[in-house]
Each structure stands twice: as structure tokens, then as C-alpha cells.
């Protein structure tokens, strides 16, 4: 496995939940490469500051966020604007994060592969039999 680290920044308890789920599926060592980040009590500048500190402390080279329009994505893009080499990926889901922590190589290959896996995992498994 690659050693790439990432931050998972999301609304409510979603980031903690995603990282917890990665831990259950892939194990604690894999999940330790993901740092959940959430702070709903901060304004936009303070949120960007907190995320900036989290990126510096973790050494993450990618930030996974939930909503493209969300405040976490806005904050992550601000930090990435200052730090070339930091990627921001929106629409994080469990298959995406599992692919990231299990990727055989690090660098941009890991998060690009994760994006492919996350997108591919979205499907209608059953349509309820109505066909509408």
C-alpha cells in the first residue's frame, strides 16, 4: 500500500462516519491514513485556517470533501490555492476512500484511482420493481 495521507472534510458527523467505516472494512492501519475533519461552529475564514492547520499537521496531499458547493470544499480550495500539490476531491464516498487507502501506489495515482472507484460504485442496485 502507498503511504499517502488524506483529510476527509465533511458536514455533521459524516467524516467521522466515513473514516470509521474504512476502519471496519480495511483495518485501523489503513484508516489511520485518513484524518476526519469537521467543525460546524466556524465561519469561513476560521474554517480555512483550521483546515490549513490540519493539512500541515497531517502531511495530507489530498482533501476529500462531501458537497461541491459546501463550505468544506470552499475552504479546501482556498488552502489548495496556496499550496500547489494539494488536491481536492468532492463527493467522497466509502468505495472512494477504500480505494484510496488500498491503492498500491501513492501520489496522484492513489486519489485518481479513488475517484474512478468512487464514481463506478454509484449505481441503482434495485429499482424497486416499478421500472419507473
Amino acid at each position: 500500500m502507498g503511504a499517502e495521507r488524506a483529510i476527509v472534510a465533511a458536514h455533521g458527523d459524516f467524516a467521522d462516519g466515513l473514516v470509521s467505516a474504512v476502519c471496519r472494512v480495511a483495518g485501523a492501519a489503513a484508516a489511520a491514513r485518513l484524518m476526519p475533519f469537521s467543525n460546524c461552529n466556524l465561519g469561513a475564514p476560521e474554517l480555512a485556517d483550521a483546515l490549513r492547520q490540519a493539512v500541515a499537521a497531517s502531511g495530507a496531499r489530498v482533501v476529500f470533501t462531501d458537497l461541491p458547493a459546501g463550505s468544506y470544499t470552499i475552504a479546501a480550495r482556498r488552502v489548495a490555492h496556496e499550496q500547489p500539490g494539494l488536491a481536492v476531491v468532492c463527493g467522497a464516498n466509502l468505495p472512494m476512500l477504500l480505494a484510496f487507502v488500498m491503492a498500491p501506489s501513492g501520489g496522484s495515482d492513489a486519489w485518481r484511482l479513488a475517484v474512478q472507484k468512487g464514481q463506478a460504485a454509484i449505481c441503482i442496485a434495485e429499482d424497486g420493481g416499478r421500472g419507473d
Binding site: 458536514h11 460546524c40 461552529n41 466556524l42 465561519g43 469561513a44 476560521e46 474554517l47 458537497l67 461541491p68 458547493a69 459546501g70 463550505s71 470544499t73 470552499i74 480550495r77 482556498r78 490555492h81
Partner: protein
């Protein structure tokens, strides 16, 4: 149509605005009144990126917004006007008699601010701005998302955090 919501939110364009209010109100456009954003192409790109293609975002200074508010109100879509602080909204209310209701959607923790609700923290100047807005007959209430119960300003200023 009309500008349905005049909102103060220090996160500006974000999920609660685009999804929480945007979908139930079928918003066609957002007017973001913020001088820093209005003067920066990069800032505008940042906020435009998260908005769905069927929704337009217009970036205005306070003066620009006051000059074009009547035009925005005549647009055929539902709209939402957004400021990031109380002083900008106060300036808009003082310059335009058509604003009758202000939604306090989010002013978050910062040094010097007192907690009023989970998503509203106010300092003395911000409280003065809101009182001045209300004194002009404008209905001011805190409400982060449409499903939440609005908290009137008179009640809000007596609260201490939750």
C-alpha cells in the same frame, strides 16, 4: 418573481444556501453582496463552482446591489440575496425600502462574539446592526434551514448558545 430571502451568512454560498434553501424555493439565482468577492475573479470562480448549472450567481458590491436591486426583483426566477456580515445587510436595508425580512442564517464563532444559537455568534457591533435593521420595521429572525423554527431577533438576543 422576487428575491425570496435576504440572508446574512458568513459562509456565503454553501450547502445550506444552494441545497437547503435552493431546492425548496426553486432558486434561479443568488446575489452575493461582498466587496472582496466582487473584486476578485478567483473568489467568484470559487463560489460559482459549487452552484448547479440551472442557478446563476451575481457578484455585487453594496453600491452595485443597491443600484440593481429593482432589476433583480423583476427577474422571472426566484432569488436569494446573501451578505457575509450584518453591516452590509444594514447598508442595504438603509438604502432600499423593499427589504422587509432578513434571515440570519449563520454567523459563526470568532473571538469577541457571544454565542446566541448553535450557528449564531454576535459581537456588540453586529447586535447594533441587527437592532438598527429591526428598528426600520424589518422582520429579523435566525433560521439556518427552511425546516428550522425561526428565532425572532428579540428572542435571539436573550439566548446564550443553543
Amino acid at each position: 418573481m422576487a428575491i425570496e430571502v435576504y440572508r446574512i451568512d458568513d459562509r456565503l454560498v454553501h450547502g445550506q444556501v444552494v441545497v437547503g434553501w435552493g431546492q425548496p424555493l426553486a432558486l434561479g439565482f443568488i446575489v452575493l453582496v461582498d466587496t472582496t468577492v466582487a473584486e476578485s475573479e478567483w473568489e467568484q470562480d470559487l463560489y460559482r463552482m459549487g452552484v448547479p448549472p440551472e442557478m446563476s450567481v451575481y457578484f455585487e458590491t453594496t453600491a452595485g446591489a443597491l443600484a440593481r436591486l429593482a432589476d433583480y426583483r423583476r427577474r422571472p426566477q426566484h432569488g436569494l440575496l446573501l451578505t457575509g456580515d450584518t453591516s452590509t445587510m444594514r447598508a442595504l436595508v438603509e438604502g432600499d425600502a423593499g427589504i422587509t425580512r432578513v434571515n440570519l442564517g449563520g454567523l459563526h464563532h470568532r473571538a469577541g462574539r457571544t454565542p446566541r444559537l448553535r450557528y449564531v455568534f454576535l459581537d456588540a457591533a453586529e447586535e447594533a446592526d441587527l437592532r438598527a435593521v429591526a428598528a426600520r420595521g424589518v422582520d429579523v429572525s435566525a433560521q439556518d434551514v427552511p425546516g428550522a423554527t425561526p428565532v425572532p431577533l428579540s428572542d435571539l438576543l436573550h439566548r446564550s448558545g443553543q
